[in-house]
């Protein structure tokens, strides 16, 4: 008696399950069709790739890091006779990179020698006050670009999580 009632409930539970599944399946397929139609109509399939999204700030960060290296080289050679200080014109290099040029090409195109405020007798054109100021400025600009990039990453992550 007990087992019979148990079997009966099992059967009824199964039927319920199948009904729900069928209903769910039909619903899902219907939803899928509609959403894919919408997707095509709104042009959402043309979403930019992650590379495109990060191109601006990623490129800027690379240029900043290259400039950091150059200024570090200048500071390292502050007392090398005949050393010519080099620097990167960030604005021009960034403009060229944004207009579709490669980053390395933009970097080498806009790297130049510094004109010293007061030339020294041994031919060295490193002026520590200038280099130190630019180094500190560049470090802050690197941090700023980095925080923009982190903001982009966290908003994409939030969108993926659906928060």
């Amino acid at each position: 008696m007990k087992t019979g009632s148990f079997g009966a409930t099992r059967v009824s539970w199964h039927t319920l399950c199948i009904v729900i599944l069928e209903y769910a399946n039909s619903g899902v397929s219907h939803e899928q069709e509609r959403s894919s139609d919408q997707f095509l109509n709104t042009g959402l399939d043309k979403m930019p790739s992650l590379d495109q999204i990060f191109a601006l700030n990623g490129g800027a960060l690379q240029l900043r890091s290259q400039r950091l290296n150059m200024l570090a080289s200048n500071i390292a050679n502050a007392s090398t006779p005949g050393y010519k200080a080099k620097d990167l014109d960030f604005d021009l290099a960034m403009k060229q990179a944004q207009n579709g040029g490669s980053l390395n090409q933009a970097m080498s195109d806009h790297t130049g020698y510094r004109v010293p405020l007061q030339p020294s007798a041994d031919g060295n054109t490193v002026e520590l006050s200038v280099e130190q100021t630019l180094f500190a400025e560049n470090a802050i600009q690197y941090r700023t670009t980095l925080s923009f990039l982190q903001g982009q990453v966290s908003s994409i992550r939030r969108a993926l999580k659906g928060e």
Binding site: L68, A72, A76, S79, T80, K86, L128, Y142, R143
Partner: protein, 131 residues
Amino acid sequence: MGSMNVFDVAGRAMSAQMVRLNTTASNLANARTDYASENEAYRAMRPVFRSVVEDNLATVDVERIVQTDAAPQRRHDPTNPIADEQGYVWEAAVDETAELIDMLETARNYQNNVQVLQTAKSLILETVRNQ
């Protein structure tokens, strides 16, 4: 990126400045010492710096250490046991004032490279830690 990074640049510059500080220390230690002849008198030592360029990076190495050609001063000191027959001794050719100024410049350059190292380190760590 080549084989050299910003840590190599600052690190090698620090070693070069350290060599320079060592020569300054040797020069100051030997200042005001007397010698029996001009040939054996101490002459100040100086490192010769040369920049090493790789891609966009340039660090510095000590190419060699040279002795300056400053002439030792002859001084009349007949009571000195190493004085010659005429009573003369030769003083080490070291300009102490110049050495002290050189020492200050060396210390400043060394500190600058330490600062570069610290800034580069913290920027890289901030980039890696990216949340």
